[in-house]
């Protein structure tokens, strides 16, 4: 076991060195130190015991390949093997990002549903990019995410077990987050990542565990063999429509009981499907991240700002009006922006998210005469075609009336989008 004292200098592979400033935290495997690298403050994760050649080489390869997306607090430099072990250098996590566990313990709460949805989107996007680069994460659990409660921005940490899909890191994962096939002794891969991702998303939205209901609470002592049963061979989703033996318990699973029906049906249907026996048993039939992103988009489309109370509210997209879940007044959602299979209700003050980068592209406003407008808050001009065929341009920060029949063409991150305003 090797610990480093402040002032110790450790050489980096490929030149340069870091100097230990102080310890930031420690876990089972290692210690994270604040270090100085050429005048910049960085973080060094130092392993208490040298994890071996294979691990070192893999880490080196990941560093050379670079981060799959900006969601990752990715290793940037690896140290030489000195002082009995080695470590890697990454950016320091900013103070306004809190470990996901703090949200589960209700020590930190999302400032808004918008932020919660942004977090979900960013997590899905991160793993989509990771898998697209041919990696699997292997050990996805609640300890890997740091989230900004006001924006929902996410940093994914502990990227040292990331391996090319199919390779073995030797890690199995954390109980309660491992896919059933891994609990049964399988090797983690992108499909087991996708299972763990669904668990994380469920916990992010509903703040309870998808398999922990009456049946699991009744077990007095969670031994390893029970763990294998309840999270593996005999896992039962708490809202499994075909099996009600593991429903959430009042007074214990309060969050999910309150939120389950309040959050959109689409979310309920997706989780019921993802945690069905069929999907638990057949890893390659699980939802891919891109599909998760579509679903989160649609859930976000169903979230509006109530024009009466100003609070966020979910609306039912199939209806032309919904009663606000906060103030009980009726929200008229008949005016819609159509984008492929998506329908975005145009209610005043609601932000319009077209792509998945969590940055609003439009905002709904009302002028002094009561006409509903859409403001272009994206960096590029929109081209609008009127019902009679006239072409108009809406510059950044400019407004257009939300008139049914208007067709909008716009470009975001070099991707073309065609939208149309209609009424329901």
């Amino acid at each position: 076991m090797s610990e480093l004292k402040p002032g110790t200098k450790i050489g980096l592979n490929g030149g340069g060195q870091v100097e230990i400033i102080k310890e930031l935290g420690r876990g089972g495997q290692g210690i994270v130190y604040l270090v100085n690298l050429d005048g910049a403050q960085m973080a060094l994760k130092w392993y208490l015991n040298d994890p071996g050649d294979k691990f070192y080489k893999n880490l080196e390869r990941n560093i050379n390949a670079g981060a799959p997306s900006d969601a990752f607090l990715w290793p940037e430099y690896i140290t030489k093997r000195e002082s009995g072990s080695f470590g890697y250098v990454m950016k320091v996590r900013p103070r306004n990002y809190y470990e996901f566990g703090n949200y589960l313990l209700a020590k930190v709460t999302f400032k808004s549903v918008t932020a919660m949805l942004a977090a979900a989107m960013k997590i899905c996007d991160g793993f989509m990019m990771l898998h697209r680069h041919g990696y699997s994460y292997q050990d996805l659990n609640d300890g890997n995410f740091f989230i900004d409660p006001s924006t929902g921005d996410v940093l994914i940490c502990d990227n040292d077990n990331v391996m090319p899909q199919g390779d073995k890191s030797g890690i199995m994962g954390k109980a309660r987050y491992m896919a059933p096939e891994i609990v049964a002794g399988g090797i983690p891969d992108k499909y087991s990542d996708q299972f763990s991702l669904s668990v994380i998303l469920f916990m992010l939205f509903y703040a309870n565990h998808p398999f922990e209901g009456a049946r699991v609470v009744a077990c007095p002592c969670m031994t390893e063999s029970y763990e294998k049963k309840f999270y593996g061979s005999e896992a039962i989703f708490i809202y499994d429509p075909n099996n009600d033996t593991n429903r959430p318990v009042r007074g214990i699973h309060q969050n999910v009981i309150r939120r389950w029906m309040a959050f959109p049906q689409l979310l309920r249907e997706t989780f019921i499907d993802q945690f069905s026996e069929e999907k638990l048993r057949n890893p390659n039939t699980r939802l891919i991240e891109m599909k998760w992103k579509d679903i989160i988009n649609k859930v976000r489309d169903e979230m509006v700002v109530c024009p009466h109370c100003g609070d966020e509210a979910f609306v039912e997209i199939k209806d032309s009006s919904t009663r606000c879940m906060n103030c009980g007044k009726t929200i008229n959602t008949s005016l819609r922006l159509i984008l492929g299979s998506r329908e975005l209700p145009l209610t005043p003050k609601t932000e319009i998210f077209i792509d998945t980068d969590n940055i609003p592209d439009g905002r709904v406003a009302v002028d002094t005469t009561g006409t509903t407008l859409i403001q272009n808050v994206s960096p590029d001009a929109w081209v609008v075609e009127t019902a009679s065929g006239k072409i108009k341009q809406v510059d950044p920060q400019g407004y257009m009336p939300a008139k049914p029949g208007l067709k909008i063409k716009l470009k975001i991150h070099n991707e073309d989008y065609n939208l149309e305003i209609t009424t329901k």
Binding site: M1, G28, L48, N49, E99, G101, N102, L104, L105, A106, K107, T109, F110, S112, V113, M116, D139, N141, D142, G143, K168, G170, I171, M172, G173, K174, A175, R176, G185, I187, M203, A207, N208, H209, E212, V216, V217, A218, C219, P220, C221, M222, T223, E224, I252, H253, Q254, N255, R258, R259, A262, D311, E312, A313, M325, N326
Partner: protein, 247 residues
Amino acid sequence: MALLDDVVSVPRRTMTVFFMIDTSGSMEGNKIGAVNDAVVNVLPMVDEISQTNPDAEIKVAALEFSSGTKWLYNEPKLASEFVWQDVRAGGLTSLGAACIELNNKLSRSGYMQAASGSFAPAIILLSDGGPTDDFQSGLTKLKSNKWFQAAIKVAIAIGDDADKDVLKDFTGSSESVLIVHNIEALKQIIRTVVVTSSQIGSKSSTAGDVSKQDQVIKDITDAVGDIKGAESAAAPAPAADNYDDWD
């Protein structure tokens, strides 16, 4: 949305760390002083682990045994609420009675009644001698207890007079018996054992079907190698003569 404001903590299972402390006459002086000091200093660490752990809430229970047995509190307590009363040494070593006492509390009508359920407990036995009562029948009874069977069990043998075979019987393996030869090592070992057992619920496991007990023992054994004056009972004992004959 109002729904977000009323969020409550996820339910956590309780993991109880049991200390079984030999307070017989031979523990008097430095040894008992070091135990008291180590436990007082490790409690804030346990509190920190418990407070930041979304998987398990960690509680502490302590049983001292000498001529009789005595629980420091009549229920497991959060580390933050556990005010350690220094234990005093004197009397015999009723380890058999302590086993029976532990067996009584390792039940849902005893100490294991957390509303959201429990994890298997961790049991840490500290002793510097051998039992003076009927240890075997006490242990036999305890060994039939399911909570005890599932528990993480570690014994710390203080000095050479500790009966290692008895401790091995208690934990079930020589790997989980740690021997300390000085006060500093004793303090460090207590810290390592308590912290490692407290963290076990929130750790990722590695391939090879390693049980939690094995994982804890492996982590502790790794750490013991760096503590001067501590060794695992499974490791070869240091040679007393420094191999002078081999010069």
